[in-house]
């Protein structure tokens, strides 16, 4: 097998590999800014300098030439090379900043040049705390600068597009954003303007940077030059904590991170998953964070005289139980939801089965022509395939209306059927409607009893995306009834760990009064004298995988290890 020597250690490798990526993959480090594993390597930041050599071979015998100590003679490149665009070759010898003083010096001096015109904005810069330039200056940079002249001033607060703001002074011209629009989103909207110390990225004159994926440039910007118009100045990075999750605004199921502070989701960023979304996600998915914070249903509510009045949980259980008991089971319609998780739909199915009612139905939420073949799919719901695989009955709008007509009691699991014009409010007149909802919508308004349930940000649950890949979320946000210090699945940020209830930056108000749907079903089952034991997502999924063949072998452990499991559907990888 071909070999390569890095800092005196021998490594074996296979196939064509970029040296920088190989070094990173093997747990070593070289500073870099412009390189990104999913894009081309133009080597224009010059930060990943290393010393490279090849062993000398005798041309006639093909043997390595040895020196007096029996070591291979190395022919060094006359100058330092950038590791990002160097392909590894057999026998290559590489010295990094760990072992070579020249390399260390070169990296330090390159940083001094990069910083020559970089403003000392860090205290007010959004990127501070997650800034490669900041981190690498601490690690590899010079103690001070020898440039005593005034820094070059460039435009600040340039609104490049509706969602992205540019601070040209902070830009180090790595061209990651330009290459992103050229190679990944293919909108070709950005370019580097001017040259020398005057250059910075812009759109063509009179054009907006309205790419559907524009916010990815904010993520990959190695400095604070591109910032999100929405998230700007909202929170420092170190005050938030980061929880892996799944995008619930589209059927693609992009892997994401939810960033929370004091139980508010403040932003959503993509999480790497080669099989689904690579490093990217659409802008529209990032706006979904508002769903978790705003307009939430709190406490159960009951409709009295056409007005929904806040009620107690006990009342909710009693009222619904009485209604179920007093209604002919044939006239109860359970409506599942492609917007709810596999576990929630399964809980609904369990309840329906034990009551002897019909199998729950669901309607898809697909907008033809919405998808773009990349990370946006026609399917607007995160779990359409989950409902199908569970065996819920798929109905179109017309036949659902028919079903609704013949029912007396309707139990609707988190799906905004009226908002998306599958049903009209008039269809539900004279019926008793129990709505389990996360947010207040037109649909929640018609509920005779409205029961708040947890969102994807508050429970661990799994979703099956358009490619039949099952992936799961983690609880990121506490409800009134959970505590992140007691739930080992929840992450703790600095404020969560050290804050007390007497701090003025911690409030109870952001915790929503809701419970997971399966908990409600279990308690309702107890009241109705049914044997339902649904405690948490993990156990429910184990039960599902034992009972339903499509889910066999699926468990949270396995999903975590493989970051999602393909359920027999076609395997698709995002490579543009």
């Amino acid at each position: 097998m071909p070999e390569v020597f890095i800092d005196g250690k021998r490594f074996e490798y296979e196939g064509e590999q970029r040296l920088l990526q190989f070094i990173l993959d093997n747990g070593m480090e070289i500073p870099f800014f412009c390189y990104h594993p999913s894009m081309s390597a133009p080597a224009n930041c010059r930060q990943c300098m290393v010393k490279i050599g090849q062993p000398k071979k005798d041309r006639e015998t093909g043997e390595f030439e040895l020196d007096e100590n029996g070591e291979r003679k190395i022919v060094w490149f006359p100058k330092l090379q950038t590791a990002c665009n160097t392909m590894i070759a057999d026998g290559m010898v590489v010295l990094t900043q760990e072992t070579d003083e020249l390399v260390e010096r070169a990296q330090k001096d390159t940083l001094e040049f990069i910083l020559a015109n970089h403003p000392l904005d860090c205290p007010i810069c959004d990127q501070a705390g997650e800034c490669p330039l900041q981190i690498q200056t601490y690690k590899y940079g010079p103690e001070g600068s020898r440039f005593e002249v005034k820094k070059v001033h460039k435009p600040k607060r340039v609104q490049l597009g509706p969602r992205v703001i540019l601070d040209a002074e902070r830009c180090i011209n790595c061209t990651r954003c330009v290459r992103f629009t050229d190679e990944i989103s293919k909108s070709h909207q950005l370019t580097i303007m001017q040259r020398g110390d005057k250059n910075y990225p812009v759109t063509a004159p009179g054009r907006e940077f309205d790419d559907a994926y524009s916010l990815n440039t904010v993520d990959i910007c190695p400095v604070g030059a591109l910032t999100s118009a929405d998230f700007r100045f909202k929170a420092r990075v170190w005050e938030m904590n980061q929880t892996p999750s799944i995008d619930i605004s589209n059927g693609k199921g992009c892997n994401i991170d939810l960033w929370t502070r004091d139980n508010l989701i403040l932003r959503i960023t993509p999480r790497y998953n080669e099989a689904v979304n690579d490093h990217w996600m659409p802008d529209i998915g990032r706006e979904a964070y508002k769903l978790f914070n705003e307009n939430r249903v709190q406490r159960p509510a009951q409709k009295l005289d056409d007005e929904q009045i806040n009620s107690s949980w006990n009342n909710a259980f009693e009222t619904l139980a009485e209604k179920i008991e007093s209604t002919d089971k044939k006239e109860i319609l359970f409506i599942g939801s492609p917007h709810a998780s596999v576990e929630e739909n399964y809980s609904l199915m369990t309840l329906a089965n034990l009551l002897g009612a019909k199998t729950p139905v669901f309607t898809t939420n697909i907008i033809e022509g919405y998808g773009d073949g990349f990370l946006l799919d026609d399917d607007q719901a995160p779990n359409t395939n989950g409902c199908r695989l569970l065996g819920l009955e798929e109905k179109d709008a017309k036949s659902l209306k028919k079903e609704v007509k013949s029912a007396k009691l309707i139990v609707l699991l988190n799906d905004n059927l009226i908002d998306r014009e599958v049903l009209e409010a008039g269809d539900l007149n004279d019926k008793f409607v129990a709505v389990f909802a996360t947010n207040r919508t037109e649909t929640s308004k018609v509920a005779n009893i409205l029961i708040p349930v947890t969102t994807a940000a508050e429970h661990a649950a799994s979703y099956v995306n358009v490619d039949k890949r099952i992936q799961r979320t983690f609880p990121a946000k506490e409800t009134k009834y959970t505590d992140r210090r007691l739930d080992i699945e929840m992450s703790e940020g600095r404020l969560d760990r050290y804050g007390t209830s007497f701090d003025n930056w911690v409030t109870e108000d952001n915790k929503v009064d809701c419970i997971p749907f399966w908990n409600f079903v279990s308690q309702l089952g107890e009241r109705l004298g049914l044997k339902i034991e649904l405690r948490n997502g993990r156990e429910i999924l184990d039960e599902i995988s034992n009972k339903i063949p499509a889910f066999s072998g699926v468990s949270y452990e396995e999903m975590d290890v493989q970051s999602g499991i393909s359920l027999g559907g076609k395997k698709e990888t995002v490579k543009s």
Partner: protein, 175 residues
């Protein structure tokens, strides 16, 4: 105002495109075609070039702004690039620049009202041996400038007479 290439221009552009395996490298020469036709490559002209070549507007904008020889705004008929870099500066480059500014009644970076002249202060044009010097509209060099020579040049340009190429002798090195 909408800009359009003439039929001859389009033929020329086709010839330029045929020279390269891809369209991208044709950006530079086609920008020249545009500048020769319109006298500048304003954003609208850049857009025309992008549309003609089928390239992203942003790319054409990036290329046009990279090179100072492309005029990104309307300029005078004659653009006088007066060198004030080191050698010219030592030989009186600034005197020449200020003389031109006074004579035309404009500052460096401006254009006369009649649209005849623009004056720019530029860095080294690589003619240090014949300092001070200036360049007329990205083209001919006028060397060893004196105030009289500048006066004559401006007079001739006003009459539409472009300066001749000057043959410059390098001083022979004595052995």
């Amino acid at each position: 105002m909408a800009y359009e290439f003439t039929k001859e221009d389009l033929e020329q552009i086709e010839k330029i495109k045929a020279k390269f395996p891809e369209v991208k490298p044709a950006t530079l020469p086609v920008l020249w075609v545009a500048q020769n036709r319109f006298g500048h490559v304003e954003p609208e002209v850049q857009r025309l070039v992008a549309e003609t070549l089928g390239l992203p507007e942003a790319h054409v904008h990036g290329v046009a702004t990279f090179y100072t020889q492309y005029y990104k705004e309307k300029m005078g008929k004659y653009v006088l690039d007066v060198c004030t870099c080191l050698s010219c500066q030592l030989c009186g480059g600034y005197d020449i620049l200020h003389h031109i500014e006074d004579k035309l009644g404009i500052k460096a970076g401006e254009t006369t009202e009649d649209g005849m002249f623009s004056v720019q202060q530029v860095e080294c044009l690589g003619a240090c041996g014949y300092a001070p010097m200036l360049q007329v509209t990205n083209g001919k060099y006028v060397n060893h400038l004196t105030k009289e020579k500048v006066d004559n040049l401006i007079k001739a340009l006003k009459e539409g007479k472009e300066p001749d190429y000057e043959q410059m002798e390098m001083p022979l090195r004595k052995v």
